[in-house]
Every structure is written in structure tokens, then in C-alpha cells.
Symmetry: C2
Subunit: 191 residues, 2 copies
DNA sequence: GTCTATAGCTTGATAGAC
DNA sequence: GTCTATCAAGCTATAGAC
């Protein structure tokens, strides 16, 4: 019940969860204003237009992901445990009514304001980089097992998690768990 | 240059491609009307409201998938060749500006009219069923290799293809090819 | 089967008072 | 920093003429 004293951060916080749940086009200034007990004009004061708001949202997502990544990388975990953390983070999004990777979505990146989609691409690259690095280390140490390049493997691991998250919204959260379990099975050495 | 004599099927055809490219909320009756040189009221004549149009679109998608599936199943192909066909069908969607599985999207199924999302779920089940069956046969005949249940494997194969398709819109079509190649590598026995 | 005309809503955005 | 008031534009949908 602390911080977020000012209206601006309250807007940002609410917009963040609405972005995750409904996508960028799935909420309006009116939604924000009504839910916060203010007027749309007040929202426009803090974010001149919706594209500006969108850009700041994605920048915040990037910041959050970097914090998460450096934190988990510093904890000297096994590669599979890091991947677990990655999947778990996504599952939490699912539990909170979220849909896509980080809410970065609309998934359909080309339907976003241009400045915003540019930031989304940067974020996507950062996520892919982290995944590839984690997979490469796990492969080198023998904790993980897969064929081909870590960069390519990171591509389908990322795609599978994204896809599983989206499918889970339609088919139920247990399908997400099944899919992730199967994904881990593929990466486990030995059998 | 043949068939689609009547306005109704012209609407359906155009709506189909717009659904694939922009999602259900990404086109309007005005878009349809303007592009076809008719008025919105004419569209309303053929489809009383947009939910009705959406339902018929998904039903048509189901019909198309069933045709595709029975056709490819009758051609006595190897399991991997069938999966290739599945991936290839999706790649064509990508090339035509499409985004999601069949355009069934908005990906965010829970933002669709209820009757429509119900049909989407049926379609999702049919696709999963086909994938699981194909994987099971491939595993039994030794053409494919993976651990765990075919049902679970179908889940992540489907998720990976869906995710790859969406990522490709942001990162480029070559990323889709890379991801699919990596996916096939995982399913290939021997190495 | 297609049209005109229109209703009623929601959206993003701005100007100016307090 | 927040408000009132207002705008043009977009949307779905309907009634009724042709």
C-alpha cells in the first residue's frame, strides 16, 4: 500500500496490466480515467497522446526484464532453473489475466504506433539474447541437450512459450503447464 | 477469375484476408463496403451483425482446414512431409500478410464475440487433434522422434508454429524459416 | 439486393477555466 | 494537476425508399 503516490505512476501501473490483459488497442483513455477516478484530460496531461504512453510502457517493460535477467543471472543457478524462472514469470502473467510475452504485444506488432513497435523489437531482441545465452551455457556445461545453434533454439523456445501462453488463454492454464513440461523434456539430456 | 458471383461470397473472401492480416477488430464494415464498392448497409444485409460474420468466417476456416487435412492424409505421405505441409500452409499465410494460425486469431480469443470464440475453440481442437495424430503415427513408424505423449508434443509443436508466425511479423520471415528448421531438427530421429 | 439517411455510441485529442 | 466542455472521426446498427 505504499509508493505510487503520484497520478502518473498510477496511470502507468494500470495501463501496464490492461496492456497485458487486453492489448494496446484493448483499453482507452476513458478506461484509465474512470478506473482511477480522474478525467481523460488528466491522462492527456501526463501522456500527451496514447503513442507516448505506449512507448513508455514498453520502455518500462524493458527495464523490468533487465532487472529480472541480471538478478537471476547473478544467482548462480543451473541453466534449467533459469529457464524455469523464465517460464514461471510468464505463467504469472497468465495468472494475472495477462496474455502475451510481457504484455508487449498486441502480439501484432505492426498494428502499434511506429515508435512503440520499435521499442518492442528491441525488447524482443533482448529476450532472444538472454534465451540464447542461457541455452548456450546450458549446452556447454551439459545441463541441457539440443541440436543446432543456440540462436536457432532460442527462437523456437521463445516461440513455443509465446504460443503456449496464447493458446492457454483459449484452452486453459493447464495446457500451458503441459506444454512447458513437454518443452523441458525436450531440453533434458539423457532421455 | 470465376465463381464468387454474388456479393456475399465477395464479402466473405475479403473479410477472410482482412481477418488474417489485421485481426477481427482490425477491420470494419466500412472497410469491407468501401473496398467492394458497396455500402455498409449492404454488408449488414448479408450478415446482420459483425458477430454473425465472424462466426461464419471461422466455420469456413474449419471447413477449409478439414479439406486440407483429409486431402493431405489421403496422399500417403511420410509423417515429416505432412508436418512440412502444415508448416508450409502457415508460411503461405505469412506471405499473404496474414498473421495468426488461420486468421482465427485475434489470437486473443477472449476478445471475440462469444459465439465466435466458441467456434475458434473447436477449430483449435481439430488442429491439435490432427497434429497429435500425425505425430503419433510418425512416432510409431519411427519416422519421427520425441519424448512424452503425442498429445503433449502436439501442444508445443502447435504453440511453436503459432509463436513463430507471430514473431516473424516483427522479426522477418526468415526467422520463421529458421525456427521451423530448428523444430524439424528436434523431431528428426537419429541425430 | 442495394441504396440513403441517420442514430447512438466510443474513441483520441484540444482549449481554456480553476 | 486536474477539471469542464467540446471536437471530429470512427464504429455498429437500423429504418425505410428504390
Amino acid at each position: 500500500m505504499p509508493r505510487h503516490t503520484d497520478t502518473r505512476s498510477r496511470i502507468l501501473e494500470l495501463a501496464h496490466s490492461l496492456l497485458q490483459a487486453h492489448g494496446f488497442h484493448g483499453f482507452s483513455y476513458r478506461h484509465l480515467a474512470d478506473a482511477l477516478g480522474i478525467k481523460t484530460a488528466a491522462v492527456h496531461y501526463h501522456f500527451r497522446n496514447k503513442a507516448d504512453l505506449g512507448v513508455e510502457l514498453v520502455i518500462e517493460l524493458r527495464r523490468k526484464f533487465q532487472c529480472w535477467a541480471t538478478d537471476i543471472d547473478n544467482r548462480t543457478l543451473k541453466a534449467m532453473e533459469r529457464l524455469d524462472g523464465f517460464c514461471e514469470m510468464h505463467r504469472m502473467i497468465l495468472d494475472h489475466g495477462g496474455s502475451s510475452p510481457f504484455g508487449l504485444l498486441d502480439v501484432l506488432v505492426d498494428q502499434l504506433p511506429e515508435r512503440m513497435s520499435r521499442e518492442v523489437l528491441v525488447l524482443a531482441g533482448e529476450i532472444h539474447g538472454w534465451l540464447a545465452r542461457t541455452l548456450r551455457q546450458g549446452l556447454a556445461s551439459g545441463e541441457l541437450s539440443f541440436h543446432g545453434e543456440p540462436d536457432d533454439q532460442a527462437l523456437i523456445v521463445g516461440a513455443a512459450i509465446l504460443g503456449a501462453l496464447l493458446m492457454a488463454r483459449a484452452l486453459g492454464a493447464d495446457k500451458y503447464r503441459s506444454a512447458i513440461a513437454q518443452l523441458k523434456k525436450q531440453l533434458t539430456p539423457g532421455k
